[in-house]
């Protein structure tokens, strides 16, 4: 489909963008544009129809720098997925993030798509993406996926919406205790990834807590000595598909037992889904098949499968086990 008419602007500074966002009559009226790999598809699908796009790619104050700063790996919001996939710093300090980037989309899309946009992308739910269907997330009365074709939908939805979060990177970032730094009219704030992503509710039909006047600046991953991580993703085909289910796990070994354990699932909730129950099952234990199986079971204990997505329970359990095995090997 063809997009509706809109205006395009190239602000000179981030301050101009924040001011313009703050002054916008509604959140959808003025939208920042980076890689555009999600926003433009939403516009072509007539899901959003902004009056004005503000191009972020050439202004001062926002960048694609990847560096180590204060014992953190810091990635600028404009870092492309290709840079995350192939960059040496990410590869050295957070190979699971590089792998997640490599498993996302296609080379063409990864060349264009940015880290910030990847975290903010909207769900791929086919009811949300169909302009003829007024789903709850778009302002409708109810979620049609709950009783509909929900094979791709959530096991853990504390929300009227059962769409799943599509980001591969977000799942890993939660497992790495990353923080997201944003800037708005009131200044800069750093938000733990686990607080950045929040299930949509009546007052906020979105998957994150970014303010209407805020822009993502960067993402920081603390470097914890000895911590390793892994990311496993199941897709309908070998490439160019969003995760049916994915699992990001990380821990460090301290005297042979697991510490700082993180178990995060993708494709099972409207946000990246961290399982503290699974983490508790692993903390202080030696790595091994039995404890991995117990943790995997704990991760899925509260799952509420819909009519067509029960397979995700089995799949998620085994992906957690596979990811934990890989962390152990690393």
């Amino acid at each position: 489909m063809t997009m509706r008419t809109f205006a395009y602007a190239q602000p000179e500074s981030l301050a101009d963008v924040i001011a313009a966002l703050g002054a916008a009559p509604s959140r959808d009226a003025v939208r920042p544009l980076a890689g555009g790999t999600d926003l433009l598809t939403l516009m072509k699908g007539d899901i959003v129809a902004p009056d004005r796009l503000l191009d972020l790619k050439r202004l001062t104050g926002l960048d694609d720098t990847v560096e180590i700063r204060d014992n953190e790996l810091v990635l600028g919001a404009l870092t492309t997925l290709t840079a995350i996939e192939t960059g040496s710093l990410v590869g050295e300090h957070c190979p699971a993030l590089a792998k997640a980037a490599s498993l996302a989309a296609t080379p063409q899309l990864r060349n264009r798509a940015t880290l910030g946009g990847n975290l903010l992308q909207r769900p791929r739910c086919w009811y949300f993406r169909e302009h003829l269907i007024p789903c709850w997330l778009k302002g409708g009365d109810a979620c049609p996926a709950r009783e509909g074709e929900n094979g791709l939908h959530a096991l853990f939805a504390d929300s009227p919406c059962v769409a799943v979060h599509p980001s591969d990177l977000a799942t890993v970032l939660l497992a790495m205790d990353a923080t997201v730094t944003v800037r708005g009219d009131a200044g800069e704030r750093a938000i733990a990834a686990g607080d950045f992503f929040v299930q949509p509710d009546e007052g906020r039909r979105r998957e994150n807590t970014l303010g209407g006047d805020e822009v993502v600046l960067s993402v920081a991953i603390p470097l914890i000595p000895g911590r390793t991580s892994a990311y496993h993703k199941a897709m309908d085909r070998k490439a160019w598909a969003f995760a049916l289910v994915s699992a990001a796990c990380s821990f460090r070994l301290d005297g042979g037992v697991m510490r700082d354990v993180r178990v995060v699932l993708g494709g099972v909730a409207p946000i990246p889904w961290r399982s503290t129950a699974a983490e508790a099952a692993l903390d202080g234990e030696r790595p091994g098949a039995d404890v991995f199986a117990r943790a995997a079971a704990a991760a899925l204990a509260g799952a509420e499968p819909l009519r067509h997505n029960g397979y995700k329970v089995h799949l998620a359990r085994n992906l957690v086990i596979e990811a934990l095995e890989e962390v152990t090997r690393a």
Partner: protein, 771 residues
């Protein structure tokens, strides 16, 4: 040397038709024929044009003043269009023409419908169309069309459409057609069986998704109209456009030089062609109307989903005693026409069996109309029948190959006559299984959750025999080069190259001495639709006939030129040779043709009818090796080996291409491709290439095509049959059987999606079976 006879025939309704018998007797190229070009691998004549972007597709046409058009589609699967108002759309600056139910001419479409019908029968049905100066204006204008609908009850699948009290989609109800066939006594056969198979199997709706969408560019000149169309049949487009618009056929010119795939979906004329012609007439400008991917997904065909209850019986030695199948297939909202989806055909013919009963029911549903999709019906049937055969083999403790060979037949039992090539399928079994190493132990990965397995499936196919009539012309120019002219079309398969090779072979020319012309109804003689894998077998013999006559005239002219008796002359590599004379005394063709200028040798060849005492079929066998991860349900195809009997292979390169492409589509059909319709709204949820998952290059393994290449001398004088459709037929069952071999789980429903495989493996694990 060619014949032409007309016979008057009067039908029961008094209608007189003239039956024409024609053709040129040619000695067949038998297995020992010393051919110099045919059978050698050749790259496509148009390859450079395609990779450099200069090849002109329907979309590439740009005419002075050309407008662009788009279609407004119904958001409801079944509704009455109570009001449509295009005033605001027409008033938008840049809009030059609109059309809708409000002002469309009364043009019949499908069986009982109209070009713009007040009853909309699927989500995606045509409501209105606009032509404007660019595509953005078109989109804006379509949003301004006011359409009001009275929604009606709807049925989107076979079960809903046949349920008591289901909404009738057409006046006569929801059963579109019923066909039955019976030989012997299946109940007695089942009673005599030692092992039986009795299951319901289903196949999904698949979308063709040609790389190039459907569409056309239309320009009027006076009362005549030229249509550049992405089509498998320029002459059918000509006939249909003429009929719908009330023109003579000679007033319609249809051009198609290159095409990015059709796979059956472009073998009929869809509404957008006539809509574009009407918009062009109204606006007085050329109009281009290409569908977007959503339109491709909704309104221009699909592979009909099937539900097949299959019963098989066999004795302890593997002899089939009964095949009984009850087939329901959802044909969508309309009978679209074209090549029928004969799902029952495979059951009647593939295996020797005295007791066979088939029942096939076409069911209307409120979904986009189905149309032929590369081996329609046979792909669906092969999944069910070859799954059942694999199961019987397991029950009997027999090798699946041995079971198939036990039930081999060289006769077409449904037609009660022998196959033209009774050993074709046997050769496929041998070639495929030897190349694959069937029966050899496969190596299992060290990790116990990764299991490998192998599967085999066979097929015959009713197409590939050729579809006469069809014609070709040959001109020998003064410069010694030949023009070959036919009204056929190259739908992306390499037709140009293969047919040019036939011409060069028969003329005794080199391939670069031949210039090939096709794809224009005004400039070439009639050729039929490129469907049923027919083009090579239809037009190849016509070209041979025209070339043979041209060569005879050339040699007669050369005899006069060289003052040699014609019996001593021959043409090879573009040189006229005198028997017994040294090679270096050969005379270039141009010396002869130049000396008779401006007179030229110009001949016509006609494709004679097919023989009536044999059944011409194509055959194939495929073997697949897969790996299944029992933890994640991931299925990886490791390799596919194919062997297909398409008679004499004209161009091995393009035959390999057809097999690679067909197997690729087969892998998509086996694992990922499925149209999804929302039951609550009737809306297609994956009318795009993101959620409708065709295989990517990473999903496709090495595909080995083993050449069979036995000339079918009874089929036609080239000995060649079609290869377009067959390679897709056995792929899905070969894969499903390999999955069973790997993990012991049988799938009765396609596709073997990740969710299905994981569910089945999880269910088995719950039953305490080893993972």
């Amino acid at each position: 040397m060619s014949t032409w006879q007309v016979e008057r025939q009067e039908g029961e309704d008094g209608e007189v038709t003239l039956s024409v018998a024609e053709g040129t007797p040619l000695s067949p190229w038998d297995a020992g024929a010393a051919l110099r070009i045919v059978g050698t691998p050749r790259t496509r004549l148009e390859g450079v044009e395609k990779v450099t972007g200069s090849a002109q597709y329907a979309y590439d046409v740009r005419l002075a003043g050309q407008l662009y058009a788009g279609i407004l589609r119904s958001p409801h699967p079944h509704a009455r269009l109570t009001r449509v108002d295009t005033t605001a759309a027409a008033a938008l600056p840049g809009v030059h023409a609109v059309i809708s139910l409000a002002d469309a001419p009364d043009i019949d479409w499908y069986d009982d419908s109209k070009l713009f019908d007040p009853t909309l029968r699927f989500a995606g049905d045509e409501v209105a169309a606009v032509a404007a100066e660019d595509e953005d204006i078109v989109a804006d204008a379509l949003r301004l069309v006011v359409a009001e609908y009275e929604p009606l009850p709807f049925a989107i699948d076979i079960v809903a459409a046949l349920a008591p009290g289901a909404t009738p989609i057409h006046e006569g109800g929801n059963v579109e057609s019923e066909k039955t066939y019976e030989r012997g006594d299946v109940e007695a056969g089942l009673r005599a069986a030692d092992v039986t198979f009795d299951r319901v199997l289903t196949t999904q709706t698949a979308i063709h998704h040609s790389l190039e969408p459907h569409g056309c560019t239309v320009a009027w000149e006076g009362e005549g109209v030229t249509v550049w169309e992405s089509t498998q049949s320029i002459f059918d487009v000509r006939q249909q456009v003429a009929e719908k618009l009330g023109l003579g056929e000679s007033q319609v010119r249809v051009i198609k030089q290159h095409m990015g795939g059709g796979f059956g979906s472009k073998q009929i004329v869809w509404k957008q062609t006539v809509i574009a012609a009407l918009l062009a007439k109204r606006s007085g400008r050329p109009v281009q109307l290409m569908l977007d991917r959503e339109g491709e997904s909704l309104a221009v065909g699909n592979r009909n989903p099937t539900r097949q209850r299959l019963r098989l019986g066999a004795t302890a030695d593997g002899t089939l005693t009964a095949i009984d199948v009850t087939i329901h297939q959802a044909i969508g909202a309309h009978s679209a026409g074209g090549e029928g989806s004969n799902t029952a055909g495979l059951y009647q013919t593939l295996y020797a069996c005295p007791n066979v009963r088939t029942s096939q029911t076409g069911v209307y549903t409120n979904t986009g109309p189905a149309v032929a999709f590369r081996a329609p019906g046979y792909v669906e049937a092969a999944f069910a029948l070859e799954t059942g055969m694999d199961d019987l083999a397991r029950q009997l403790g027999m090798d699946p190959l041995a079971l198939r060979l036990t039930n081999y037949t060289g006769d077409d039992q449904s037609k009660e006559m022998p196959f033209s090539q009774p050993d074709g399928l046997r050769a496929c079994y041998e070639k495929a299984t030897v190349a694959f190493g069937w029966g050899e132990t496969i190596e299992q990965p060290a990790e116990s959750h990764r299991r490998r397995g192998v599967g085999i499936a066979a097929h015959h196919w009713v197409g590939g025999a050729g579809d006469p009539p069809g014609y070709a012309w040959v001109k020998l120019n003064p410069d010694g080069r030949a023009d070959i002219i036919t009204g056929t079309q190259d739908i992306g398969t390499g037709t140009r190259t293969g047919l040019a090779m036939v011409a060069a072979e028969e003329l005794g020319f080199t391939l670069d001495q031949v210039t090939f012309h096709l794809g224009d109804t005004a400039l070439g003689p009639y050729a039929p639709v490129s469907s049923g894998s027919a083009t090579m077998a239809t037009i190849g013999p016509a070209i041979r006939a025209a070339a043979a006559e041209a060569k005879a005239e050339l040699l007669a002219a050369a005899a006069a030129f060289l003052e040699e008796p014609v019996e001593r002359l021959s043409v090879r590599d573009g040189l006229i040779r005198v028997a017994g004379e040294p090679e270096d005394r050969a005379t270039p063709v141009a010396a002869v043709t130049g000396s008779m200028s401006p007179h030229m040798i110009q001949t016509q060849g006609a494709r004679g009818g097919n023989p009536e005492d044999v059944s011409i079929q194509t055959f194939g066998v495929q073997c697949a090796e897969v790996e299944v991860d029992t933890r994640t349900g991931e299925v990886t195809i490791l390799r596919v080996v194919a062997a297909h009997d398409c008679g004499r292979i004209i161009n091995p390169t393009t035959v390999d291409s057809q097999v690679i492409g067909g197997v690729t589509q087969g892998i998509g059909f086996a694992l990922t491709e499925e149209r999804v319709v929302d039951a609550a709204t009737g809306i297609v949820l994956n009318a795009n290439l993101e959620e409708y998952k065709v295989p990517t290059v990473s999903d496709i393994p090495g595909i080995q095509n083993v050449h069979v290449g036995i000339p079918d001398l009874k089929a036609n004088p080239t000995g060649s049959k079609g290869i377009g459709e067959p390679p897709l037929i056995p792929t899905a069952p070969a894969i499903a059987n390999a999955v069973f071999d790997a993990v012991g789980v049988r799938f009765y429903d396609l596709p073997l999606s990740r969710s299905r495989v994981v569910d089945a493996l999880a269910a088995r694990e719950r039953q305490g079976m080893p993972a």
